[in-house]
Point group: C2
Chain length 340, copies 2
DNA sequence: CGTTAAAATGTAAACGTTTTCAAACATATG
DNA sequence: CATATGTTTGAAAACGTTTACATTTTAACG
């Protein structure tokens, strides 16, 4: 029967008739303790329902404490970020670090609360995918000497470690794929224009047009936010265009899914009536019908590199910031049809 | 320029020419400190790159206001768990609590490492979805008096707080839907049989058959693991059956996606050749083609209730355990066709 | 039995904070 | 100027452990 009031080492020691040092030794199992006393102490521990105070243990222990890493993610529902989290988590748990995740789902207030929380839990460093809203906040964090690694996008006013995909090249490949298949009117449903990533992808879309001597119809580049709902809304807009595009290139996976809902809902045949290629692959891209052709970002790899960088920065706060650009890969499946 | 060696309150105090008490007050922002000294102290903090030791803070602080909650999730790639996390996270951040997430992706070793980590970070309690492998471990945790709330499934040998879906009723509704549509040979691709949840869903499947006086063909209930790959493997198996079923009921969303990959890959028409209903809805169920009919679990709600329960248990460790059963809802879309 | 080494235990000093209490200082009042 | 009142500060005692060091007990041996 565990006791109801929390007890001390001292209580246990008294109850077992030994000193607190002995109790400590029993608990840590290190030093040689006489069998009889060990039994007595363990009995006392059980009787009192004693549990060591981790904070105190941690404070006193010489053993280097485990690292605590904060993670700020804009939207945990986005499969891409899940991959990133996996990558970070795998490395962290392999190195005895713990991660605290903050998903601030498009909510500025919560985002700030989280940053404060991270600070008050005194994490050793954090990995963030900033939004325009939190940029200043994160910058001030760095100003305080806080180790931070950015993923997905860099900060405007500050040079930091950053790990991101090669968005422009990825978007180029997607668009090029469509062009080579003979498409001339390709709509681009882009993500939120406040996010640099969106612009990089638009740039890739433009570059492909330029390379293949195709004029970009500015009216074909549309955007609102980066979420599912915007995909729905903008897809409807595309379908209503007087000269309907023969293909759509979507700026991220949430937009892709929203677009697909509309296309299927209206019975538009893919790829016969409209081809589609999305930025962001999904592990279940083959479960879509038709299987989705998409630009794969190596989220796991990005997460892995980010935390590796963060560890290095924690060790050496003064080291010059680096940026890692991770390649993307066009996964060709069925949603764009075939050449012949 | 942040210092490179870690510094004390004492160091800061010396550098700012005040006592450690004053520095502490500045840091906690509570007591009234003269503006001039506050500035001086903050300057010293910045200069030395000082960061408080959270173990010491925790140890000394009486009003340990912010709770630290551990979360043990079997697979962060499963959208259902993401919903649960969202629910927990929302409540937590509204109550100034922080959550530490451990995704142990089907890996027993990491699972144990995580439990140890949670313990050493001195979390105030945790929410777990146990796997057969970790059950004993979690039980011993509870034995130590650790506040734990289970989601999805209860423990075998111990009564705890638990929040879960009404699996049997949900599975019943899905199967009944199929039966009412005229299906008589319904395959059930179940999840891992080591997980109680799988059995509850199978029970629902059976109950529907019984209610409608249909014999259950045991050969139609197949299972392996609960993941995507098993969905792929078992779907292929279904397609090869001599008397091919006219419908499939899948035991969870990963299985559903795996099954869809195979069905689409082989050009099987849904729902004309085979109807499908899945356990677990997904926010992009409408992006599938045809839109997926599925049993919705209210993951967000489950997460919310779980953490509420956990808070209560932390406050009152001796309160009798309760279990909350959350209803499910059959979301009828297009993957089963219509009656007429 | 006396001596010595080894084993087991105890004492007390950390660990880095917060917090109580009292002292010092400032300001206003008579 | 003395006193009262408030505002800032500092000294030192916690918090619950681990651990270096000292001490006691036990075992071993001649």
């Amino acid at each position: 029967m565990a006791g109801t009031t929390k007890s001390d080492l001292k209580d246990v020691a008294r109850s077992a008739g030994v000193s607190i040092a002995t109790v400590s030794r029993v608990i840590n199992g290190e030093a040689v303790v006489k069998e009889a006393t060990r039994l007595a102490v363990n009995a006392a521990i059980k009787k009192l329902g004693y549990r060591p105070n981790r904070a105190a243990q941690r404070l006193r222990s010489t053993h280097r404490s485990r690292k605590l890493i904060g993670l700020l993610i804009p939207d945990i529902h986005n499969p891409y970020y899940i991959d990133i989290i996996s990558g970070i988590d795998a490395y962290a748990s392999a190195h005895g670090a713990t991660i605290i995740i903050g998903d601030f789902s498009q909510d500025a207030r919560r985002e700030r609360i989280y940053i404060d929380t991270l600070r008050s839990e005194s994490v050793d460093g954090c990995i963030v995918a900033t939004t325009p809203r939190t940029e200043k906040y994160v910058e001030s964090l760095i100003g305080e000497g806080f180790p931070v690694v950015c993923i997905d996008r860099e900060l405007k006013n500050l040079i930091t470690d950053v790990v991101k995909s090669d968005n422009e090249t990825g978007a180029f490949a997607a668009t090029e794929h469509l062009i080579k298949l003979g498409h001339k009117r390709i709509a681009h449903i882009a993500g939120d224009l406040q996010i640099p990533t969106s612009h990089e992808r638009i740039a890739g879309y433009r570059a492909a047009h330029q390379q293949y001597k195709l004029r970009v119809d500015e009216g074909l580049i549309i955007s609102k936010h980066s979420n599912y709902e915007s995909g729905v809304e903008l897809a409807a807009q595309v379908l209503k265009m007087k000269k309907r595009p023969t293909a759509i290139f979507t700026g991220n996976n949430l937009l892709t899914l929203g677009v697909l809902e509309v296309l299927h809902g209206q019975g538009v045949k893919i790829p016969q009536e409209i081809a589609i290629v999305g930025f962001d692959d999904m592990y279940w891209a083959n479960s879509l019908n038709p299987a989705l052709t998409a630009v794969r970002q190596f989220g796991y790899e990005i997460g892995h590199q980010a935390i590796e960088l963060l560890f290095k920065r924690i060790e050496a706060p003064q080291r010059p910031p680096v940026s890692h650009i991770v390649n993307t890969q066009l996964m060709i499946r069925k949603s764009c049809g075939t050449k012949s």
